[in-house]
């Protein structure tokens, strides 16, 4: 059974359509990356999953229940880190962590203290004295200290320094080893690449791509730089080729890899390096205009 399954989700705010037929399936025990340009509808989706927003159309199942009707029961099984962490002035970070834990019916003092230590967070500071990163850590520690079966993390590491980012990745791996599920919305592609089993990319409120990173790479091009025994002439099926006698650099569609390799083999390969597309390149293509979704105006805001 999937932890999250959404199909054809529509959510409108007045005249803006924030979600326009979004699909998302997150299997149990997987870390699922949730990607998309600003304003594409990631936060809105998560808020529908939390039962804070009511969907206008489509079906949404969360842990086998209806997120709107069974909100309270489901919330006992999940933990959430909001994208924009605002805390109560005058209440310390430690108090917030304890409160959120108790409201979920949990008390894990040892794990909580361990996490505070790992994230180097002072729990006795009043909320207004925390920096942005430290506010983020308060919400993270509260969520990671729980033993919820599903973690909904909305850009949980925005504002964290690289050391803390590494600590976060360690924590996520541990959660995955325990067989729990994570939906991770993020703009940090290195993080997604390091952590996620599968990813979904949304644009303008619609899912444009979904699958494992390997599958997504499949749809793209590999850069190849090659040196041959005989001079290179008449390569076909390649893009942006720069040929200089026995040296060549070009991109090749993954589907064309085999024929191109045959041509090269015939020329006698002396050395060859192939670079898989970076995630960065891959996403820029999906995010950018004219790709993925049918229409293309940069991003979702201002429609």
């Amino acid at each position: 059974m999937a932890a999250i399954s959404i199909s054809g989700l529509v959510k409108r705010f007045g005249r803006t359509t924030a979600l326009d037929g979004l699909d998302l399936t997150v299997g149990e025990g997987e870390v699922h990356g949730f990607l998309g340009p600003n304003g594409s509808g990631k936060t809105t989706t998560i808020r529908v999953l939390l039962g804070l927003l009511r969907s206008d159309a489509g079906s949404v199942r969360l842990l086998g229940g209806d997120p709107w009707k069974d909100a309270v029961a489901l919330h006992g099984r999940l933990a959430y880190v909001p994208g924009d962490v605002t805390l109560w002035p005058g209440i310390t970070g430690g108090e917030v962590i304890d409160l959120l834990g108790r409201l979920r019916g949990e008390r894990h003092r040892a794990r909580r203290d361990e996490l505070l230590d790992r994230f180097d967070l002072d729990p006795s500071k009043k909320a207004r004295a925390y920096s942005k990163g430290n506010r983020q850590k308060v919400a993270l520690v509260a969520a990671l200290a729980s033993d919820a079966e599903l973690l909904l993390l909305d850009e949980p590491t925005s504002g964290l320094d690289p050391l803390m980012e590494a600590e976060f990745q360690r924590c996520v791996r541990r959660v995955r080893e325990e067989g729990r599920t994570i939906l991770l919305s993020s703009h940090i592609l290195a993080e997604v690449e390091a952590l996620c089993d599968r990813v979904s990319i949304v644009r303008l409120g619609r899912t444009v791509e979904s699958g494992t990173l390997a599958e997504l790479r499949h749809l793209t091009r590999t850069s190849i730089s090659v040196e041959t025994v005989r001079p290179i002439t008449g390569l076909s099926g390649v893009h942006d080729a720069v040929v200089d006698d026995r040296h060549a650099r070009f991109d090749v569609d993954d589907t064309q890899l085999e024929p191109v390799m045959r041509q090269l083999a015939a020329l006698g390969v002396r050395s060859l390096t192939s670079t898989p597309p970076t995630l960065e390149e891959m996403f820029l293509r999906h995010y950018g205009p004219g790709n993925g979704a049918a229409d293309g105006t940069g991003n979702g805001d201002g429609r």
Binding site: A73, P82, W88, K126, A139
Partner: protein
């Protein structure tokens, strides 16, 4: 100070929606007091009567000011309103200067500004200039209002100068506190504490007729004795102190880092106490400070009202025409007076209730409701947590009004039992208080964006009907929509259960409807 002028224009823009309310509010206080006093005691004979009764009442002197002021009608106006107006003006300056100094520093806005071609002292300079502008305009309006209502020009000028001077002193004090404390709330706390101490010192000093009043800037302001002795030198005292405070503030500013203070904020608890274990625990924690403030403030007002209850009887015996202002005629004049004043307490309790219920809305729009609602706390439980504070808290405020009034009145007539009688009388108004709060709840459930307007309009409407219905001659149907109208005017009228039950039922129905609406809408916009 480079850039101070530019910042001043910017601050003025940011404050254009708030500042006028403070300024016109202050002028309005004087306008109402001046017309009312001249209507009631315009005749020298009436004023003499007032001097004998009120002037000899220690409690009233403690609440108002020195009895010497009662020599002239202008002095009487100052006696009644100056102490209160001083608080308003002090708070205006405190918030004004606090907001543009430590407030901006705390939120990081100052960093943005200081990174531009702006001098270190510019934000403080701009804030103080804005305060100066506000205080001078306030003074000018107060002068216009007092002189315009026929009081002597010289005395009116002195009142205006004292108000301006007092404002500047508090602006300067806030500028100093903003250098000392790290957080705006601590700045407000410190200045507020000083204001409370200044007011108490003046009250104690006036009551005992001792030199203690000279410890308090409010005392300096009142001891200018406008319209009576017209002393100008205490105004100088105010101005010189203000200048010294500004010099001290600038000296501290030059010696510290941006964002730092002299006093570091204390760390809090690393673990939550048992009390902070539920949504209701959180709601109480968030609102307990403001609830305590309301309880104390309204209790003090009750004490002020109660302490003149006995004098009212004597005063009315001397001036029978005053009965026209009180419901119930002359025979049960004291009960009529107590009923009217306890209603004011009830309106204030409703004001607390509305603000406490709207706190839920503020939590929602600031995004702080979301993490709570993402736990097993249901929507009903979450909104209910704030409603508990609103409903129970408004009951506490009401009780404080009744107890304070009963206690003070009981002490002056030698009957401590009055405290319980008045506490009971006050609680008779609780159903109406809840009904007003329920309108705000209904708004939160069904028309979230209009909730604040709905709540405050309901309260304002009830206040107009209760306090001015007779003077404005409002038609009956207009009045009947106010829940207060349907309740017995305790302690003047006999209390029967049916009206209380009916109004309570209406309040409950509106509240439940509001909760039902909240369960069905999107959260967080």
């Amino acid at each position: 100070m480079t850039g101070a002028g530019l910042l001043l224009r910017f601050d003025l823009r940011r404050d254009r929606a708030k500042l006028p309310w403070w300024i016109f509010g202050t002028a309005l206080l004087f306008l109402i007091q001046s017309t009312q006093s001249q209507n009631m005691y315009g005749d020298p004979r009436e004023l003499a009567g007032l001097r004998e009764t009120i002037g000899a009442n220690t409690a009233v002197v403690a609440m108002s000011g020195p009895a010497q002021l009662l020599e002239t009608i202008g002095g009487e106006v100052v006696f009644e309103i100056f102490g209160f107006a001083a608080i308003v003006v002090a708070l205006m300056n405190m918030f004004l200067v606090g907001r543009y100094t430590r407030g901006d520093e705390e939120t990081g806005r100052a960093e943005l500004v200081l990174a531009a071609r702006v001098g270190r002292r510019a934000p403080v300079g701009a804030a103080l200039l804005l305060a100066l502008l506000a205080d001078v305009v306030t003074g000018a309006l107060v002068f216009a209002v007092l002189a315009g209502t026929g009081l002597p020009v010289g005395g009116s000028l002195l009142v205006a100068a004292a108000i301006t001077g007092l404002g500047l002193l508090f602006a300067a004090l806030t500028a100093l506190a903003a250098q000392v404390f790290e957080h705006a709330r601590a700045v407000y706390g410190a200045v507020g504490l000083f204001l409370g101490a200044a007011w108490t010192a003046r009250a104690a000093g006036d009551a005992a007729d001792s030199g203690l009043v000279w410890v308090s800037p409010i005392g300096w302001g009142q001891r200018t004795l406008p319209y009576v002795a017209d002393r100008w030198w205490p105004v100088l005292l105010l101005l010189v102190t203000a200048v010294l405070l500004v010099v001290a503030a600038l000296a501290l500013l030059d010696r510290r880092d941006l964002g730092d203070g002299l006093v570091r904020s204390r760390p809090g608890r690393p673990y939550a106490s048992r009390a902070l274990g539920s949504a209701t625990g959180l709601a109480w924690r968030l609102q307990r400070g403001s609830l305590a403030g309301w309880v104390v403030g309204v209790a003090l007002l009750g004490v002020a009202y109660g302490s003149i209850g006995d004098s009212i009887e004597q005063f009315v015996a001397d001036n029978p025409e005053v009965t026209a202002y009180l419901p119930g005629g002359a025979d049960r004049i004291v009960d009529a007076y107590l009923a009217l004043t306890v209603t004011v307490g009830a309106l204030l309790a409703a004001a607390f209730g509305v603000s406490a219920a709207l706190r839920a809305r503020a939590e929602e729009t600031s995004g702080r409701a979301e993490p709570i609602l993402a736990t097993t706390t249901s929507r009903t439980a979450w909104l209910g947590s704030h409603l508990t504070v609103a409903l129970a808290g408004s009951g506490l405020v009401l009780l404080a009004a009744g107890l304070g009034e009963g206690l003070a009145y009981g002490l002056t007539v030698g009957d401590p039992g009055q405290a319980f009688r008045m506490a009971g009388a006050a609680l008779v108004y609780l159903p109406a208080v809840w009904a007003v709060v329920a309108v705000a709840v209904l708004g939160i459930g069904w028309a979230a964006r209009a909730a604040a307007v709905a709540g405050w309009t309901a309260l304002g409407y009830c206040a107009v009907v209760e306090l001015f219905a007779d003077s404005f001659d409002l038609p009956g149907w207009v009045q009947r929509a106010s829940p207060f109208v349907h309740l017995p005017e305790a302690p003047l009228e006999a209390v029967t259960a049916p009206p209380l039950l009916i109004v309570t039922a209406v309040a409950a129905a509106l509240t439940l409807a509001g909760l039902a609406g909240f369960r069905r809408r999107d959260v967080g916009y």
